[in-house]
């Protein structure tokens, strides 16, 4: 109780200290963009009033923070009231009036200025990453995510290397990635967060533990939803960046809309290349001499080049009678990725690489007031043809200088596994993926909405290994997977939008067809037939997300979900090659996820602005799908099924503080810490396990990120500006095995980056320079895998708008 009073006291004091006043600016215009002058804009219930000038611009000063109604009136139109939430010291509210005189706040503008806060205050544990600033710098999308509180991106090297995402301690299969709400797997390996540049991204939403209904997938631990840019004004943006390790990253995006017919063309493309030949050293980098002794070396990575190339073109109509948006598009991408090593850096590979391509056709349709008023319909259909080749045929051992390792007799040594990582392989994996996603949003009243979503996903996979014999190649089974997820949500804004509630239920259905060829003896003859089986699993999940604004600067957030992850095809049907046998009775993994959060601010005092947010979370995972290990039979013949055996629990918190001075200095500090523990307490006889409540090995559980940015105006040229940045990252050491052995502990890591961006006076050209890991520290995401050291990048951005 005491704490409750303290909190109240703290907030009321804050309210005294920080005046919560905003200046609203905006443009009044007709639908076709023509400005309207002499329109009166008044904040209802106050004396704050403004009139639009001949360019349609109006301004309202000293508007208190909070929910307001704005009264729009003029001689030509009938007066109307519109609700807006004022929560920023400077806020842009554009007003659009259609020919009949109906008034609407311009949604695009509103979205552009406050989507982040809008999403972050719905009640979900969500972070919205805006890419505006970052897109000007030499950043990769994964680096942006890694700086987000509660997100740990674990990458096996430099640009293009394999990535695993950890959200509050949940990782692997339980975290799903989406692009505009569509599972990213539809697009293929060649269109991943490794290849999509921040410049093509409007924003990234990171949902932790509790996933809203519109992201319909079995994302048990969290979801990362990448929203690609959808600006509606004509523009062309291009950038190119060059830097260390021969890294070149370039991209463009453009949009043209014919305002008469509504015909719209959008196009974008990217090209990334890096040699990734950064230097590595330390105890994991050693050449093995012929007699088996170690020779510790410093060496450059030599089999790690990465190239990706892709583009997207969409043609359609926007804001026409029959559609708000209608697009038909094509997305093509291609990548080439050399692989330097496996889980550990101790054995360098040569000649192992993957190549992948994807061709995706898509159709998008969106219409408000579909069939009836207040009903919004969205449809997204996609079909993709993906292919991937894993190539590993080099038979020799290599050392870190890229030379063949020789044995005592001076001859090269054959790899003990056959090729670099395993047996020699030229494995072709072809997938056809079709995804249909449709949504209906119905506004029962302005503050009550029903959301119905359905996603259908089917994947048809074929494999062929050219290094196998002809018989083996023919004798291979197929797996077809179909998934349906239906979700229904009810969203309510009540108590003058102070209480936002989002209740949702999700129904998952997953069907897998298995066809394995078998040989049967008929009259002494071996006859090939097919052994068919299928599995059909259904399960329900449900959850709640809610936020309550005690006042405009103090918001409480709570969310909970019974989240599920469906078993994968290998987990159900096994994989003879990996000695996994089938278990058709396996159940989905279940996790009870809970988040509790608090958002404070922004508080404004003169030029100072401060905001703070914190959240605590719990992930209680049961029926975790694990492969039971049989200690008796030796590893290679252990044909064991997957079973619902594991239990883990993750408890933690995260916090973020943002301080802004005079819109010039911006300091962001965030920290995240969790305890992910083994949660099986007793064995069959009721004895407590030693590992019970013990931190799982190999989890970076404590991370800190901080960023400072300062803007100088008119520094060199009039109307130019210069931004300088500093970034600091910290990852605490962690054990990588169950035994607390110092040798199996990663060191503490401190990473520091600096950068600057210069905006030329015409605002079309921006030049950025970045220096990453400036003190050239050894950085590890995964145990024993070193990431790039000190690196420099230069980037040029060019933007044309409104042509």
């Amino acid at each position: 109780m005491k704490q409750f009073y303290l909190t109240l006291l703290f907030t009321s004091l804050s309210n005294l200290l920080f005046a919560q006043l905003s200046t609203i600016k905006g443009k009044v215009q007709l639908e076709n963009g023509k400005p309207l002058s002499h329109v009166t804009i008044k904040v209802s219930g106050t004396s704050i009033v403004g009139i639009s000038n001949d360019k349609g611009i109006y301004e309202l000063r000293n508007v208190p923070f909070g929910d307001h109604k704005i009264l729009v009136s003029s001689l030509e139109i009938k007066p109307q009231k519109i609700a807006v939430l004022i929560d920023k010291p400077k806020q842009n509210v554009d007003v659009t009036i259609d020919a009949t005189g109906d008034v609407a706040l311009d949604e695009v503008q509103i979205v552009g200025s406050s989507t982040k806060r809008e999403i972050e205050t719905q009640g979900f544990a969500v972070n919205v990453i805006e890419t505006q600033g970052a897109s000007l710098r030499s950043f990769q999308t994964n680096e942006l995510l890694d700086r987000t509180v509660g997100v740990r991106v674990r990458q096996n090297g430099g640009l293009g290397s394999a990535v695993n995402y950890n959200l509050n301690g949940m990782s692997g299969n339980s975290v799903r990635i989406f692009v505009d709400g569509i599972p990213i797997s539809t697009y293929g390996e060649s269109f991943s967060l490794n290849s999509i540049p921040p410049a093509l991204i409007e924003r990234i939403e990171v949902y932790k533990g509790v996933i809203p209904a519109h992201l319909a997938d079995d994302a048990m631990g969290g979801a990362i939803n990448v929203i690609l840019k959808k600006g509606m004004s004509n523009n062309l943006v291009a950038s190119v960046s060059y830097g260390s390790f021969n890294t070149i990253q370039s991209n463009f995006s453009g949009l043209f809309r014919d305002s008469k017919s509504g015909l719209t063309v959008k196009a974008s493309g990217f090209h990334n290349y890096s040699d990734n030949d950064y230097e590595v050293w330390g105890k994991f980098v050693r050449n093995i001499l012929p007699n088996g002794r170690y020779d510790y070396v410093r060496a450059r990575r030599f089999n790690d080049a990465y190239r990706s190339l892709g583009g997207q073109i969409e043609l359609g109509f926007t804001d026409v009678k029959w559609a708000d948006q209608f697009f038909i598009g094509y997305n093509g991408s291609d990548d080439y990725n050399e692989i330097q090593h496996g889980t550990y850096m101790t054995i360098p590979y040569k000649g192992r690489f993957t190549e992948s391509q994807a061709n995706v056709l898509n159709l998008n349709y969106r219409k408000r007031d579909f069939l009836t008023k207040n009903l919004e319909f969205t449809f997204n259909g996609m079909h993709s043809d993906r292919s991937q080749v894993v190539n590993d045929t080099v038979r020799w051992n290599y050392n870190w200088f890229g030379e063949k390792s020789v044995g005592l007799d001076g001859n090269p040594i054959l790899r003990p596994t056959g090729a670099q990582q395993g047996a020699a392989t030229i494995l072709h994996i072809d997938r056809k993926v079709t995804t249909f996603r449709s949504g209906l949003n119905y506004y029962v009243t302005k503050n009550h909405r029903l959301v119905l979503n359905h996603i259908f996903y089917t994947i048809d996979r074929k494999e062929r290994d050219d290094m196998r014999s002809a018989v083996e190649r023919e004798f291979i089974g197929t797996r077809d997977l179909q998934k349906n997820v239906v979700s229904l949500a009810y969203e309510a804004n009540t108590f003058e939008r102070r209480l936002k509630t989002n209740l949702f239920g999700k129904y998952y259905q997953q069907k897998i067809d298995r066809v394995d060829p078998v040989l049967l003896s008929e009259n002494g003859q071996q006859v090939r037939t097919e052994d068919r089986a299928n599995s059909n699993k259904t399960i329900m999940g449900y959850g709640l997300a809610s936020s309550y604004a005690l006042n405009p600067t103090l918001i409480l957030l709570v969310s909970a979900e019974k989240a599920v992850r469906m078993p994968s095809e290998n987990e159900i049907f096994g994989s003879p090659g990996d000695n996994i046998i089938e278990n058709v009775n396996i159940r989905p993994e279940i996790s009870n996820n809970f988040n509790l959060g608090l958002k404070l601010g922004p508080y404004q005092l003169d030029q100072h602005r401060l905001s703070f947010s914190t959240a605590g979370f719990l992930r209680d995972t049961r029926d975790k799908i694990v492969q039971r290990i049989n200690p008796r039979i030796n590893d290679a013949l252990q044909t064991n099924p997957y079973e619902n055996l594991g239990k883990t629990k993750s408890i933690g918190f995260e916090a973020e503080i943002n301080y802004v001075f005079n819109d010039k200095l911006n300091i962001l500090f965030s920290a995240s810490r969790f305890n992910q523990v083994f949660n099986i307490r007793y064995d069959d006889r009721g004895n407590q396990y030693d590992n019970y409540n013990k931190q799982l090995p190999n989890e970076p559980f404590f991370t800190i990120n901080s960023m400072a940015q300062y803007t100088f105006s008119h520094l060199v040229q009039k109307n130019s500006s210069l931004n300088i940045y500093y970034n600091f990252g910290f990852v605490d050491r962690f054990y990588t095995t169950w035994i607390d052995l110092e040798e199996f502990r990663t060191p503490k890591q401190f990473i520091q980056d600096i950068g600057a961006s210069y905006f030329f006076p015409n605002k079309k050209l921006v030049l950025s320079a970045d220096a990453k890991n400036i003190f050239n520290r050894q950085v590890y995401d995964n145990f024993a895998v070193q990431k790039p050291g000190r690196a420099f990048y230069l980037k040029l951005n060019y933007t044309i708008t409104n042509f």
């Binding site: 093995i288 088996g292 054995i347 005592l408 018989v471 030693d690 052995l741």
Partner: protein
Amino acid sequence: MASAVVIALSFSSCSKNDGPDNPSNPGGNPDRWITVAGALMGSDPGDGNGGTMVYAVSKEDARNPEVSINVYQDGFAVRSNRTARLQSSEDGNTLFNIAYTGDNGGEFSRYHVNGGGSFTQEDVSVNISQYASTSPRWVKLFDGDQTGIAVNVANIAANNAGENSANEPFQYYRGTATVLALDLQEVLIKGYRQYQIPLTPEEEIQGHTIFRLDAPVLNQAGNKLIIGTWMQKRNPATGQTEQNFERLGSKSVVVDYPSLENPTVITSTVGFGDNSGYRSFNSFLAEDGSIYQATQRDSKGSHILRITPENEYDNSYNFSLDAALGVQDAYVDCWRYAGNGIAYVLYTHGGSDQGYVARLDLNTQTATRVDLPYDPDLDFGQYQGILVDGNEVYIAVTPTGKDGNIYIFNSETGEVTQGAKLVNRTGNHYIGIF
């Protein structure tokens, strides 16, 4: 301690060709350290994937049932991601380990035993992963701690695999075998050879192939290594590994020593199982000059096979454990020859995982189950260290997750003595005495 080393050295130098243990030293070395090893669970009880811990006591303490040993609380963690592959020097003063998987997989290191939880890792190590993978199979030869032999088979493929040979008819599946000799004293690789080891064309056309090699042993003449095999059969019509197939007679690979060249295959007509053992010795040279070898996954239950001093199977020697113990499907988890024709074997039967200890007489081909407090959770599946010291055989008997004891078996009299108590933790088990 210095006198102990001298005794041990003289002991090991004269034991070279006498088989594993010298019966002329019945009491063993009174000052020998007894090192106990325990495996920690990873995510499943009994999986041993949490790592390995060791603890050394005096022989007096090891024999004293009043003494409690808690390796998990007081022990030293051996550097290995998963269960370590431990061996000890004959004098008990040095532990040898090859780390299994992980960033240091394939790394051989030596630890000096100081007593208690104090072990000093010697600063030189050697890595054999380029030859034998990061999860190598190895044992020490009984040659006075001079040599370790690691073996590996990789890249099993059909002769007509790959684009270039797709039109050729199928003839065989073969892998590439590696045999490597490690100098345990200098901590260096002494030599290695890599080759394909063919079976007979009739066996190969059916899809039989050597899937693994393990548990090598040096013959009496010291000029050949006998290496155990784990056989596999693939269906040439489908390329898939067969789970149930008619097993061939047990096979061993014989190579020249020390050159490691000229691999040949010998085949038993008595045993039909593999003889690769599990993480420790599986074949022993006895005083009669013969090598005795246990079988696993034997379609007729585990057998003890005899290989003559001429390096051929003696098919007149037929020692079936099923018959001798009066059980079905006997399975040898681990065993050790103790001298004078006597051996101790840890086995299961009837498809259960429950382990038992039996005393074998190789000369009379008889076996007797030793009377011990057996428990359904006693599982020797990962057991890898039976210590023979003079006439005495030391075995750690702990059911998974329960306390147990060291037991000392007198190979001459058959007498059983309960030794120190082994304190256990849930999900863990003791895996050896070194």
